[in-house]
Structure formats: C-alpha cells, structure tokens
C-alpha cells in the first residue's frame, strides 16, 4: 500500500505543483472573482451583496480586498492573458486611469436592469457609480471639546502633534490636499498653494499614515485626536465603540464616486453583470445604507435615511452641492505631487 517509489513521488510532486499553477477557474464552474476595498467595503459586500448575488444567480463569489491602485497593477500585469478577477471596484482617479489603459469594458445597460434606476450622473459609460464617498473631519470627543467645523481647525495651535492625515496613496489624502488647494485659491493645474499651506500644518501632525488601513488604526489607538477621515469609515468605527465623531466641513464636503466595472476579458462576464446589477438594486443599497455601514445610495428609488440623511444629504440635490475635483488633471499631476509631498513632509 505504501510502496512509494521515486516515480510515484515525482508524479505526486509534479501534480501538486501543476495544480497550484493552473489558471483560476479550472475547477469552479460558477465562481465569480470580484475586487472590493478593504475595511468597511469588504464587510458590507460580504454580508449584504454576496448573499443577494448568490440567491439570485446560484453562483458563488470570491471577494478579494484590494486597493484601487493594486487592482490596476494586477490588471496591467495580466494584460493580454487571463485577468485575475472579473469585477473591478475603483475610485474616480484610478477609474479614469483604468479606462485610459483599456483595462475595463464599456458597461452595457441592456444587461443590467437596475442601471436605469440610477440618477443620470451615476450612469457612467464604463461602469455605474455604486456610491459616493464623502470626507470630513473625525475627532475624539473625549479629548477635543469644541467640535471642529472647518479644515482651518486642524491648524489650531492647541492641536500641536495631535493631527492625522494620510499620504497621497489614498484618495482620502489626495482629496484633502486638493480641497486645501481649492480654498487657498489654487486649481488642479497648480498645487503650490496647497503645499505652502501643508508646510504650516507640519507642527500639528502626529502622523501621516502610509495608507488608508493604517489611518483607521490611528484613531482607534488614540495616536491622533483629530484628522481627515472618510464618513463611512468614521461611522463604522463609532459603531464599534471607538470614541470618534464625524463632522462635515463648512466649506463644502469633498466627495467622489466609487464605480464598479466589468474587467476586459472577464472570464465570467454574465455573472459579473449580475453582480454589479445586484449592487445597484434598491434592496442591496437600502440594506447597505443602514448602520454601521451608512453607504450613500446611488439608486434613486432608495430614499436617504439614517446617518446618511442627517449627516450627508437629505436629497439628491444636496449631493450636487458637494465639492468635486477634475480627476483627469489629478492623474496627470499625481506623480509630481507625490514626490513633492514626500519632500515636504519628510522629517
């Protein structure tokens, strides 16, 4: 029985090695691979979207949390071959970069019944917006007694060494810098005003997180008392019992769309459409709008409720009043700004 010869051993090793090298999808017939973001998004899509999708289609989905830039890198590397996932999930800047690089397909509304229910500005050609992300100031109510109202509060001398921001690797950090620039009179074509202003914030900075994931931990551990933060993420932390409050800034809330896309050459295009369409459905979006997730809906059949209504927007018209940036120009300037950011914030 256990008469293992060299030949058997070799064959077994080769089989094991071969199996691990097989292209994905060789085993599971009905398995979609979809990218998601880390944190709140991975949780909410796992708990709300995946069961809904499986009930509707009978297929299963593997949700793989990845940064937007990581998704683009992986798709670029796989160009010409099999893409490692079928559905991409991107913020506005990386979204435009992916379209330019030909990594995502045009979205066919005919294959997605719920697409028609979106407000027109969420019906983008290469894939629908599934939410808006809004940013503002988060603070620890135990240590910050007067609630902040504007970005200028981060510059207050009393917050010396207590403020947290993120690097330009996350859209959060980028949007913050762009908004400071706008308020200082700059445009996406000239970021000098923002960098000049950023220099004066240095004494107040406790930390500049390398990425969005590390940023959340700063609030949790009391490393920072006040800083920029994403609405959804701050509210999720609060629901977990972290002493954190989110406020919008008085100068207008910077926001951007998050979109979902069919990846070019997707192995399971039909399932990919069904998955994105599920995310657009009124059922999924109203479930995601509930606490602790508070995902801002884009389906016009879903009325704003709860924290979304009380803190972000009462009606779709309120969303139009938010502050948007020209991400095409942002993508052009990003490399240069990143290097300058490195230089300015260096200890």
């Amino acid at each position: 029985m256990f008469d293992l010869t060299r030949r058997h051993l070799l064959a077994a090793t080769a089989a094991a090695a071969g199996a691990s090298l097989l292209p994905r999808g060789a085993f599971a017939a009905d398995e979609l691979v979809a990218a998601t973001f880390g944190g709140t998004w991975a949780n909410v899509q796992k708990q709300v979207l995946a069961p809904y999708f499986t009930k509707k289609t009978g297929a299963s989905v593997v949700q793989s949390p990845m940064l937007a830039t990581e998704q683009i890198a992986k798709l670029t590397a796989a160009k010409g071959g099999q893409p490692p996932f079928d559905v991409a999930m991107l913020d506005e800047g990386p979204n435009l970069a992916a379209i330019d690089a030909g990594l995502v397909e045009k979205y066919d509304p005919a294959k997605s019944p719920n697409f028609a229910s979106l407000s027109p500005h969420f019906q983008t050609e290469y894939g629908p917006a599934i939410t808006m992300q809004a940013i503002g100031i988060a603070y620890n109510p135990k240590t910050v007694k007067t609630p902040p109202t504007s970005w200028a509060d981060l510059w207050k001398p009393e917050y010396k060494g207590r403020v947290g921001i993120t690097s330009l690797a996350s859209t959060l950090g980028l949007a913050f810098l762009l908004d400071i620039n706008r308020l200082e009179g700059g445009t996406e074509a000239s970021m000098e005003p923002a960098f000049k202003k950023l220099k004066t914030l240095l004494p107040n900075l406790a930390a500049v997180s390398a990425n969005f994931g590390a940023h959340g931990a700063l609030f949790q551990q009391g490393e920072v008392d006040i800083g920029v933060q994403n609405f959804n993420f701050a509210e999720e932390l609060k629901a977990k019992g972290v002493p954190i409050e989110f406020v919008r800034v008085s100068t207008g809330t910077p926001a951007w769309k998050t979109t979902m896309h069919i990846v070019k050459g997707a192995l399971k295009p039909e399932l990919a459409y069904a998955y994105i369409d599920s995310q657009l459905s009124a059922d999924v979006q109203s479930a995601m709008q509930k606490s602790p997730w508070n995902v801002i809906p884009t389906n016009s059949k879903v009325a704003y409720e709860g924290l979304v209504a009380s803190k972000i927007a009462k009606s779709p018209a309120d969303l139009d009043k938010m502050v948007f940036f020209d991400w095409k120009k942002v993508n052009q300037g990003r490399a240069e700004w990143t290097q300058q950011f490195n230089r300015e914030i260096r200890v």
């Binding site: 690097s167 390398a210 490393e223 490399a335 990143t338 290097q339 230089r343």
Partner: protein, 285 residues
Amino acid sequence: MAGAAIRQGREWRLALPLTAFFLAFFVAPLCLLISISFQAESSMNGVLGLNQYAAFIGDRLNLEVLSDTLLLGVKATVLCLVFGYPLAWLITRVSARLQSLLIFLVILPIVTSVVVRTFAWIVILGRRGIVNDVIMALGLSSTPLRLLFSETGVIIVLTQVQMPLMVLPLVTVLQRIDPNLASASQALGAGAWRTFFKITLPLSMPGIIAGTILTYTACVTAFVTQSLIGGSRLLYMPMLIFQQAMDLQNWPFAAAVSVLFMISVLVIVGLLVALSRSRAAKLYG
C-alpha cells in the same frame, strides 16, 4: 555494484528541481525587472534608455532616501550584534534544557506573522502604549515620547524582529569553538577580556559576518515594519519603490530604483564577504 558506480558523480541532478524553480521564479523575473528598468517612458512603449536611472540620480531626495535606508540597516544591525552576541554566548554556555528554551525564545519572532508583530509594536510604542505608560508613571517625562513614527521606533522594532538572523549563526559558530582554547589562553595568563578579544572574538568572526549579512539585508528591505512603524514622514527605499510601482504605476522607474537599491545592498554584502575571506585567510591561511 555496477549500478552504484554509474550513479556516482550524478548526485548533482538532485539540485535540478531547485535550479529549475530558481530559474523560473527568481532569475527570470529578475531579468524582466532589469529589462523594464531600461524603458525610457513610464508607458513602456519600447523606447530604451537610461532615463529612469538619470531621473533617480538627478533628484537629491532619492539619494537621501537611499542613504537613509542604508544607514538604518547599519544602526539596526549594530544593535542586533551588540544585544545578540552576549545572548548567543549565553546560549552556548547553559544546560541543554535551558538552551532549547532560549533558542525557542529567539526564534519566536520568526514564527509570528510580520504584520501581527508590527501591530503589536504599534500598541507597545504608541502614545498611549505600554512603554509611554511606564515612562510617565515613573515620572521620567510628563508628556508621551514620540516612539511611533520615528526612526528610533523603527530601529527598536527592527532589532527585535531581525534578532534571530543574528543570533542563530552566532550560536552555530560559538558552539564549534573548542573550549580548550579559552582554557589554554587563561592558563597561559590571559585575563577574561584578553581571552575574549584574542581567542573567542576572532574565531567567531565567520558567525558575526554571516549574521550581519542576513540581518542587514533583512533590515533594509523590511517594507512592513518601515512603513507601519515609520509612517509616511520617514521614507525608505522599499516604500519609494512601492509608491512608484503601485500608486503611480510607473514600473520602469520603480524597476530602476529596485535595481539601484539591489546593487547598493550587494556592494555592502560583497564588502562583508571580502572581509570574512581576508579574516579566514589570516586565521587559517
């Protein structure tokens, strides 16, 4: 008998699977990396040139980041040696049971995930962390010290995390030193310190150099520790490469930075190897 004779001299074929694996998954990607670094444009349109290398050298920030990274490795490695050598020496002197316990403690950092270890250190070094709590309770400082997001913090964590790479080669070498040599030295009138500097230290040099090479290369490339403990305000080479490759999708520049970083580290390793050769020649030649 005849079969055995035929098989003789063919043992090298045992190394073939590993060689094939290495060629496919290390040498080939490395060649790819080097070739990408000669792409002149970030769009990789096929135009070749040394533009990426020129861009790296042309910006003082990049050179400062390179020297900061190489120096960070030196600082952490020196600390590993200073703390690791007595520990390794102790391990060779205690009873067998205590020895396995100590070795287990030494390799403990390797068996936990680097991310978990690093997050544990964030909790320890934080403003409200254990270290600061103790310092403030003892009245040594009225405000919390900035340990996280400082180079001091990065060095502390690297020293702990990479310690096994220094201690294990040292233990191996120290165990092989004939204890009679030290006894002879002392019998001939040398004191403990003289014996250490004239006998033990020179004989343990191969272990010191092996440990230094392993620790140094691990410290300078420790992306997770550097970025999570250091934050964005301390920039080291691995983060610079990540920024260019992932955030900015500028693969040729990232590749050129990687190649330059690799060459810098190889030069340092080469110097250490040369040093060990000359030491060995002196001792045994």
